[in-house]
């Protein structure tokens, strides 16, 4: 019998292939309608600059995010994007406030529902924003607007809040990755954050493994006594 997770993978595969078709339909329909296909050599030149970075990042992203997102959450997240700065934090927040573990089935379900909700909310906000506020929004985010700084600092606001909620539970685990990240930025201030995530996750996992070993062997020793 197929388990629920197996089914999710089957659905996910079907949806992802459909998503690819939908994605490619956009340039394809446009090109057919206006009868303008890009020149092969030009496209190749543009892609030569883009693909090595993007496709390498894609591999790193799939390896890094997939274990953290549940099955349903992974398929949904990679279609709608903005994983590190929105979908994953949103899922973490939902699992934290529902008090479920990411590794449990309950956690996986909560995370999928959170990511789905987040995807719909984002899509609706962007659509409404584009249709209703497009004429006004340039003024809000324009140079010199009073509230422009608010949106320039979404990243520290979001991750400060998340850090605080992790700090409460696992403060020991937060030190090494932040330290590693700061050091890396001192030497490479322009490093793209996608690459940095790889650095900090590795630092975080290694430090957590060491901490665990120390703690577990201590526990083991005290049990023996």
């Amino acid at each position: 019998m197929k388990t629920f997770t197996d089914k999710m993978h089957t659905y996910g595969r079907i949806w992802t292939v459909t998503a690819l078709a939908v994605l490619y339909a956009v340039p394809l329909v446009f090109s057919i309608y206006y009868n303008v296909f890009p020149q092969f050599s030009t496209l190749l030149k543009a892609l030569a600059a883009v693909i090595p970075i993007y496709w390498a990042t894609a591999i790193v992203e799939v390896i890094t995010y997939t274990p953290l997102l549940g099955a349903g959450g992974a398929y949904l997240s990679f279609v709608t994007g903005n994983i590190a700065n929105l979908k994953l934090p949103c899922a973490m927040n939902a699992m934290n406030s529902a008090d479920v573990k990411a590794t449990s089935e309950e956690g996986e379900l909560i995370s999928t529902i959170a990511i789905g909700t987040s995807a719909i909310t984002t899509t609706v906000i962007i659509a409404v924003g584009v249709l209703a506020f497009a004429p006004v929004l340039p003024y809000i985010t324009a140079e010199g607007s009073v509230i422009k700084p608010a949106f320039e600092y979404v990243v520290p606001a979001l991750f400060g809040a998340l850090l605080a909620s992790y700090f409460a539970k696992h403060w020991r685990l937060t030190i090494a990755p932040i330290f590693a990240g700061v050091i890396a930025y001192i030497f490479a201030p322009k490093l793209p954050v996608g690459t940095m995530i790889f650095v900090t996750i590795v630092a975080s996992l290694v430090a957590a493994g060491i901490l665990f070993k120390v703690k577990y062997s201590k526990q083991f020793a005290s049990e023996k006594e």
Partner: protein, 255 residues
Amino acid sequence: MSDFKTGALMYALAGGVILFVIVQSLFFIVKSWKRAKEIGVEPEKLKQTVVTSVLFTIAPAVSILATVLALASALGIVLPWIRLSVIGNLAYETVAANNALDALGGTLSEEVTDTQQFSTVMWTMTIGSCFPLILLPIFCKKIHKVMGNAVKKNEKTSALGEILGAAGMIGIVAAFVAKSLAAAPDAPDISAGLMSVSVLVSAMVFTIALDWLARKKGIKKLEPFVLPLAMFGAMGIAVLLTQFLPPDIAGFTFR
């Protein structure tokens, strides 16, 4: 011909993409919801998840909207809208569009008025960003299986799995925290400095204070609002600091 970027066809394509995203999300929500009921998760918890996630998403979504507008001057509003609704993010799309235009001898700082150019930009963006969707159907299940087996082996490894799960999440948070503490990226991205550190610290303080109110003072209703409120509060601090600090202090960056 100059309105092809915001013509009926482009709006129709945007409508199709958005419909797809919403239907797909609803599909997974409904499946997970039913399964959660089967295994006995309280419906209250699920409803709370939806509320929490909507609230959490608002601020980041508005900032994504702002990036749509940033790209709109060159590409029209509809293409950036489509691209940022699926996969895209500002850095990706800007670089892809720039490279495509560069190959054609143009730049992103002027409006694209030629359908040929526009089509090249679209194809570059699409081909450049689709790779995760090719990898995922092939590897997602395998990755989860390997991980699941590693966790299930015994009690010790399952405890380790839990800690490593948390550590993975913290690793992601740490990258962005470090960015706010020490990065000096290319403009228009903001360099770390007085402002980014102040916002980071305010968000932490607000979260801890609101969490204390919600848990210790027993204001249960506040719980789903803790993170969104802390975020908005910290963003408010950014506005206040720019308003009231002298520009050279507010604009101080570490390098």
